[in-house]
């Protein structure tokens, strides 16, 4: 911003004494081309350097003390867990259509341990269009009118009250379970959770309540957890939906049976609560096993690229690797692992590090090329999932209520015969026990470690202070170029008029030109504003299109495109008509338009980098070159030099790539091959974005698309 300030100073005639900082600003603005080339290159380079700059994770919160106590989970608990697994996989339990039997079994087991048990019934919420939702506080949700008895889910909730706690805090353990078609993995995850649960009813060190949520995943794991959380955190006082659900005969049946079969006083029909949640763990066991050793995958990305506190991942990683001997995995983009250019880049960095080390032995920043490639693949997937803004698992629902949560997915090595099953129950159970014991030690909520970071491996991370540098380099040229264009456009009009205007001859026309000179950008600002308004309209259109029944994605997409073009034309004819007459008087109109466009892109990218860094980074990679290079094609054709020819080619290529659907098409093509790409894909992708309240949707609609339109209009400007 400082540059903008100085550019107007440079506008004046040279003063005898110019302050150094002003001189620096003038220097930067006058050399904005070189500066922007250097900055953009540095930005891209810094992005590729991130895996090298990643630091090892460390446990920042002292109170956690992971692994300091020896695990108490014994074979007794494991055999308890095994019993539950057997009962659940027993074909007799699957007799009921709604899978109520297995819920009853689980509830009975919980009651036998002395836990408080309750059922939570929910209706899966339909996907709604609320793109601004990420921005507002979580609410209790809209009450839908037409519930049908056929579609509801039952979560089984067991709560252990801590003997030493005051009941103000709780730790949540979630196991998704689909009673209708459960695989063996889901039953095993319940077994692990049960063995830990049975241990926790006996221990004396528990200071926080333990909630075990068996989430009914027949309508998706996320929906079940989100429904339970919504009920837990924002109770509905109107209670309109509860009687609705209880009118269904099946549910009543469930309660009656319970009342008969269970004499325990700890069963309750009402919704049970414990204290505020300190953290949550979602536990899953995968059925297939393609790994060569026992691995555990960590999924951490919640909606809009929010991450849980790094300490939670650190604790899991530490305990899994150093105590239980499990291999820890985080998501990778597998296609990047085999790319040769990345490998050679890694080798270059490695050899550079060697040279640096030979020059000065204390410089140790190199990492081996293979590690670099893996780090980059992990970083790319971390960026991708954060940018998408769609949570990677049920843990995402917790982050909306500021609860740190991750999903652990255990993939066992061998086929699940008896011995291996016991082993995985023991090790998984001890891992969960260790994590719960660590979190149990917490005095406050997680706050010591990072919330804003990117993972390059389970034990390495790039913090916000490092990755912001790459982004800052990338967007630094924007204000500079905007300022220099603005100064150019202003000074050119100054030169043409300033000489002729003798002081006495300030007539009304000249006065008018002065008024125009200082506020000339208003016209361009109006154009930019109109295009952004159009962007907002385009982002709202899918709400109406999605109301049309029986529409295939391709037709919806076509309707969307048609309506968008129509609205652009309408807006242009209604609001922008004065532009045409103003254009004749302003010879460097396009420069001003470009300047204002770049300013708006700068604001948009800066804003997005705060909301969701990864989206802003990817968007900046696409938009910054396009904005900076945009120049009327006519001028380039007229100039006819090699440089202008290159710029023209770049402009045309970028103009195609940066169009959002085209960018998605390319990305999909690179990941899965171009064969099965379809026009409707973009519509489906966008639908998933708004259904998950992703801010990326708004970014595409209100920053990237308008920017693309403005750049195209600059390219085809008739000057």
């Amino acid at each position: 911003m400082a540059e903008t300030k100085e550019k107007s100073l440079s506008d004046e005639k040279p003063k005898p004494r110019v302050r150094p900082i002003v001189r620096l600003g003038i220097f930067l603005i006058s050399h904005s081309f070189h500066v922007s080339v250097v900055c953009c290159t540095a930005g891209v380079l810094a992005l590729f350097l991130l895996p090298v700059l990643a630091k090892n994770t460390y446990i920042s919160e002292n109170a956690l003390m992971p692994g300091s106590a020896s695990p108490m989970l014994s074979n007794q608990h494991v055999s308890d867990g095994n019993r539950l697994v057997k009962d659940l996989t027993n074909p007799n339990s699957k007799s009921s259509e709604t899978g109520i039997e297995s819920h009853k079994i689980i509830a009975q087991y919980m009651l036998d341990l002395g836990a408080e048990v309750s059922f939570h019934k929910f209706h899966p919420q339909m996907n709604q269009f609320h793109p601004l939702h990420f921005f507002s506080s979580p609410d209790s949700g809209k009450i839908q009118e037409n519930y049908s008895c056929s579609s509801y889910g039952i979560n089984t909730v067991g709560i252990i009250r801590a003997p030493h706690g005051d009941g103000k805090e709780a730790i949540v353990l979630v196991t998704p379970y689909n009673a209708l078609k459960s695989g063996f993995g889901e039953a095993l995850s319940l077994g692990i959770a049960y063995s830990v649960f049975s241990l926790l009813t006996q221990v004396t060190w528990l200071a926080k309540d333990i909630i075990w949520l068996v989430a009914d995943s027949q309508y998706g794991e996320y929906a079940a957890v989100a429904a339970w959380l919504r009920e837990y955190q924002t109770p509905k006082f109107s209670s309109l939906s509860t009687p609705n659900a209880e009118m269904c005969p099946d549910v009543n049946n469930l309660f009656e049976l319970k009342g008969h079969s269970i004499s325990g006083s700890k069963f309750s029909n009402s919704f049970r609560r414990a204290g505020t949640m300190a953290s949550a763990l979602v536990l899953k066991v995968r059925d297939q096993n393609e790994q060569f050793e026992d691995t555990i995958s960590i999924y951490a990305e919640a909606s809009n690229g929010q991450m849980p506190n790094l300490d939670l991942i650190n604790v899991v990683n530490y305990l899994a690797v150093h105590r239980q001997g499990l291999r820890v995995n985080v998501e990778k983009l597998w296609s990047l692992l085999n790319s040769s250019w990345l490998k050679s880049l890694g080798e270059i960095f490695e050899s550079l590090a060697k040279v640096a080390k030979s020059l000065y032995p204390k410089w140790k920043f190199g990492i081996p090329a293979t590690e670099y490639v893996e780090g980059t693949a992990t970083l790319a997937s971390s960026l991708y999932y954060q940018a998408l803004g769609v949570p990677t698992g049920p843990h995402g629902a917790f982050r909306d209520y500021q609860v740190d949560a991750i999903t652990l997915e255990i993939s066992p090595k061998f086929s699940l015969d008896k011995v291996w099953r016991n082993d995985i129950l023991l090790r998984g159970g001890r891992l969960i026990e260790g994590v719960i014991r660590s979190v149990n030690n917490l005095l406050e909520k997680f706050h010591q470690s990072f919330f804003l970071y990117l993972l390059t491996s389970p034990s390495k991370f790039v913090s916000v202070g490092v990755y912001m540098i790459a982004f800052a380099f990338l967007i630094a040229p924007l204000p500079m170029v905007a300022a220099s264009l603005y100064v150019d456009a202003n000074s050119s009009s100054n030169c043409s008029k300033g000489d002729s205007s003798t002081p006495s001859a300030i007539t009304d026309t000249d006065e008018h030109s002065i008024a125009i000179r200082s506020w000339r950008w208003l016209n361009s600002a109006k154009l930019v504003f109109i295009v952004h308004l159009w962007g907002a309209i385009v982002s709202l259109l899918p709400y109406f299109i999605s109301q049309i029944p029986d529409c295939s994605p391709t037709t919806s997409f076509m309707i969307w495109v048609l309506l968008s073009i129509l609205s652009l034309l309408t807006l242009n004819s209604v609001l922008a008509s004065p532009l045409a007459c103003a254009k004749a008087t302003q010879e460097k109109e396009w420069a001003l338009v470009k300047s204002v466009t770049i300013s708006s892109v700068f604001i948009g990218l800066g804003l997005m980098s705060v909301i969701n860094f990864a989206t802003a980074e990817i968007g900046a990679l696409l938009m910054v070159p396009m904005c900076l290079l945009a120049q009327p094609l006519k001028l380039d054709v007229r100039a006819g030099t090699l440089r202008s020819f290159c710029r023209m080619i770049c402009n045309l290529v970028l103009g195609h790539i940066a169009f959002p659907p085209a960018a998605l098409f390319l990305l999909k093509g690179m990941l899965d091959g171009f064969g099965n790409a379809n026009v409707g894909d973009f519509w489906m992708w966008v639908e998933s974005l708004w259904a998950w309240n992703s801010a990326t949707y708004l970014f595409i609609g209100m920053v990237q698309l308008p920017c693309w339109v403005l750049c195209i209009s600059i390219l085809f400007h008739t000057c």
Binding site: T4, K5, S504, I514, L522, K526
Partner: protein
Amino acid sequence: MEKVKKKIGSFSFWNWVTASIIFRLILIYFPKNLNLSSRPEVSTPLTSFRRLAEGYWLKQSFMSPYAGSMYHGSPLLLSLLGPLTINRIEGQPNHLLYSLVSVIADVVSAMLIRATGQNLRLAYLRSLESLDLVKQIEVSGDIAALIYLCNPFTIVACVGLSTSPIENMAVILCLYGACSRLIPLAAFGWVIATHLSLYPAILIIPVIFLLGCGPDSPPRKLFLQRHQQKEVLNQSKLPPRFSWGPVIHFAFWAFLWSVYVLVLCGISLKQFGGLWEMFKSTYGFILTVEDLSPNIGVLWYFFAEVFEFFRNFFLIVFHVNILFMILPLAIRLRHRPCYLAFVYVAICSMLKSYPSVGDSALYLGLLGWFVNELADMQFSLFLFCGYVGVSLLSPVMHNLWIWRGTGNANFYFATAMVYACLQIVLVVEGVSAMLNHDRKLRNLITGKPQDAKS
């Protein structure tokens, strides 16, 4: 904000007024979705509608409206607007009546701004004529009124159910009365504005100048120089000297109105501790910065951090800051009282203890009066982008701090500081542009070539 300026050519003034009213009415029908009335940018402890409703409720149940440190406004507002917090129309949004009152207040303010702008333009034309500088100048009244009506800040303050539209109206009423020499009206506006939000008290200086020597004109020196050149001293063409008559008249009316207001307040607070209670929990609350909940100003953060035993010292420092600027500005800009009023309002909205976007709306609207003089203002694009950027970034930072928990108070305060800096740049650039304009007029008269400064 200033975007409106160019659009006037193609659209008539009244179309835009209607459009802005319709836009407000549409927004009023979505109060739940926007939830503007709970935003810290819109409702401060002084302007919050919910606090007003609470105060009214307390008063209805025969308790002091100031009990519990919830309400800090005037007791007159309680009697006037309080019933609107309860009255509802079936099937309509809850606070429709109050919203309609704010819309009407906005429209009235805009009309007053327009009338004042026309007054100023006439005066400016007259003084240019007497300097023999014929110019075509923009219709600043319309522009200012449209900037005020179409400014997103005004719209947000109006739809967000804050009391700032009414406070702004009082300030504008005072300036209008002074410009059109309706002395009782000016005194009424000044007394009410001061009563409602205390800071407009310093507007007494521009009002005195306005009443004493008339609206904005080039410096008096210029007229003398011009006539020396012509070697005929035509007294009738000179601007009038300072006359004390209207000022004394104004003082009398101001005294009358303040006694009236105080008596009314005293009657309405008779059982609840009387006037002293009112002074303590309105002006005392403003001056001692008791409420440290975050807002777009800079004082809350500072006083949350400062040690308790330095608190009084810094309270004095911060408030004297405003007073320090009064005198130099009054001397330098005494020939342009309306501009002086704009500068004062801008400075107050920067340094006041509980600022809201409604205050910015007021001074941005007043800025529209001076489009002719400020045509050469520097950094206009920078300021515009800054305002847009800050007003988008500030809610995001608030969300990051309060709802997501990944940010902290520093994030939000950073935007507040940037906002304060923007206002400083606006004031500094505005004043220097105005002085440059005067300098240019002088050069035109004396026939000197334009030097680098113009």
